[in-house]
Symmetry: C2
């Protein structure tokens, strides 16, 4: 794969596609290319976009890409599908709308689905982002779907995370939001021409102002009084970042300029002081821990005979051994083996 | 915690609640109680229920619990929330409807949210199910929300998995289903009085018949011709299981008897031949591997000085070291330490 490195740096899209396929399939030999490309990373601004089904993510991503193209910036879109861990992945969402981007050399679109574990997908996503970054794209848009840890893991690779909502998606959307709001830097209420948009926006603002843990802490630390009065949610040139709530109708292109401006404001916020440095450190630390975890288990199962695992499972199944004691037996096996 | 074991076996609900809290918080000393209770497990039929927001999961779980109570069976409901990995969890869905179950001694309801990692939640869920099983409940209903790996992990602890859909939840619901369908033993289209129900049911049937990998393989292996003609989706007394699609209106109690019958049919299917034995083995093997992975990383970071990790992260951030080489350095540290 190392032979793909120079063509990728030179803008060869077929070489780029080939390496991304190798990354997705976690193929042997991919590591040397990633190592060689790594020093060229750090240029792209990585934007994560996530939202439940029905929020119109694909249209929004398409419009955002068009807006960046109009500014003369190059855009890579990585559509990550964490929903099919068993057979190799469904195609994400509505790719048809993205067709209007095809034929533009300044745009590169790629989807990535689960091959094997979700941990593998999160890793492939991070590696894929780095490849796109090293290939020189100004913006990397990482789109994912879901509600839960899977999207959180994927979105952790982004600098600016956009959570997309839409009016009227059902009763317990509120409960979902509580978790996902915590990762949002910018909130979008798409399909803002639909009934119920005002109450969706109001609910989000309330949850943000009352519940966003970082905002709340920093609000108290820096201001000592209510943020609601202090800081309008669309102005953020402060010591803290309160995610703005942007209304869009992506199919009509409405609100896209505001979204671009909000992303830019967040970028400026992060690049102030050493916030960006700290964020990247946090991301890298989490990534290294994840990778170490995967490697450790791979090493253990490389030395553990299949029949030992089978025996232990049988004992747990017959209730003669409980799961934790079984785990201790398996771990002891490794330590003896390493120490030898 | 070991003092809670006998009261729990004797039906003491306060002792049960205390141990479940300790399990959720992964508190020290909980393991001895789990080890002591483990031989009493294996009685309950564990049913997983999952579905996107807006499908009416809580109403359905409530109606299912009422149906089992009417048959004289005891029911535990574990509502698992994987959506808030950062601050300790939002409350799942609409608990209000479940209030009609309160006051019934034969029902026990408990929610469980993320404390720390999702891996931790999957583990706590498995342990929680075992505690409820050992406490003597006939049915354990595990309810979760989401679309992706998080719910797959949680649902893997169940014997019968029910995936809940509803008509008209948006464009890219189809993409979600592709992944989640693979874990479904029974499909429910709830809110079946809404427009679009026929097309939702038809889409699900088509996806099941064409796409369900187990069905497809077994269909070919056992029948060698089209399953669509061979096996109506509601009759399953065969060599393979094709998930039936059940229409319900949970708020009206409609379709609940059919759902109960479908779960029973699946149970009978699993208890034929050694299918149940094999399923439990698969679940246990995955669980042991997960636990081993968590323990290994805990052990490594117990011996790794914080400044070593910090140094390595800094080198990766400055691009003087790439992530995989960094991981190799961290792993080498452990092996040296274990070998000493």
């Amino acid at each position: 794969m190392i032979e793909l490195v120079e063509p990728i740096r030179a803008g060869d899209r077929r070489a780029l596609a080939r390496l991304l396929t190798a990354v997705e399939n976690q193929r042997e030999g991919v590591q040397a290319a990633l190592t060689a490309l790594y020093p060229s990373t750090g240029h792209a601004w990585v934007i994560g976009l996530t939202g439940a089904p029905g929020t119109g993510k694909s249209s929004l991503v398409t419009e955002l890409a068009k807006a960046y193209r109009a500014q003369g910036e190059t855009v890579a879109i990585l559509a990550v599908d964490p929903t099919s861990p068993f057979t190799g992945g469904a195609i994400l969402g509505d790719r048809i709308r993205m067709r209007e981007l095809s034929g533009d050399k300044g745009v590169f679109i790629r989807s990535m689905a689960t091959r094997g574990s979700l941990g593998g997908l999160a890793r492939a996503t991070r590696d894929g982002i780095r490849v796109l970054d090293a290939a020189g794209f100004d913006r990397v848009l990482v789109e994912t779907v879901g509600a839960g840890q899977s999207e959180v893991d994927i979105v952790r690779a982004a600098y600016t995370t956009i959570v997309i909502e839409a009016p009227g998606l059902g009763d317990d959307v509120q409960a979902i939001k509580a978790g996902i709001l915590e990762i949002a830097d910018v909130l979008v209420v798409n399909k803002a021409d639909r009934p119920g948009v005002d109450s969706t926006v109001r609910a989000l603002r309330t949850m943000l102002e009352l519940g966003h843990p970082a905002s709340r802490e920093q609000m108290v630390a820096h201001h000592g009084k209510s943020m609601v009065a202090e800081a309008p949610t669309t102005s953020n040139n402060h010591d803290f970042w309160l995610p703005p709530v942007i209304r869009t109708v992506a199919t009509e292109g409405e609100g896209i300029n505001e979204l671009v401006a909000a992303i830019e404001a967040h970028r400026q916020y992060l690049t102030q002081a050493d916030r960006m440095h700290q964020l990247e450190q946090q991301h890298l630390q989490m990534e290294l821990v994840d990778r170490v975890r995967d490697e450790l288990v791979k090493q253990l199962f490389a030395v553990l005979p299949a029949e030992t695992l089978r025996d232990v499972v049988n004992q747990v199944q017959s209730r003669s051994l409980d799961p934790q004691t079984a785990v201790n037996q398996l771990l002891a096996f490794q330590q003896v083996n390493v120490a030898k």
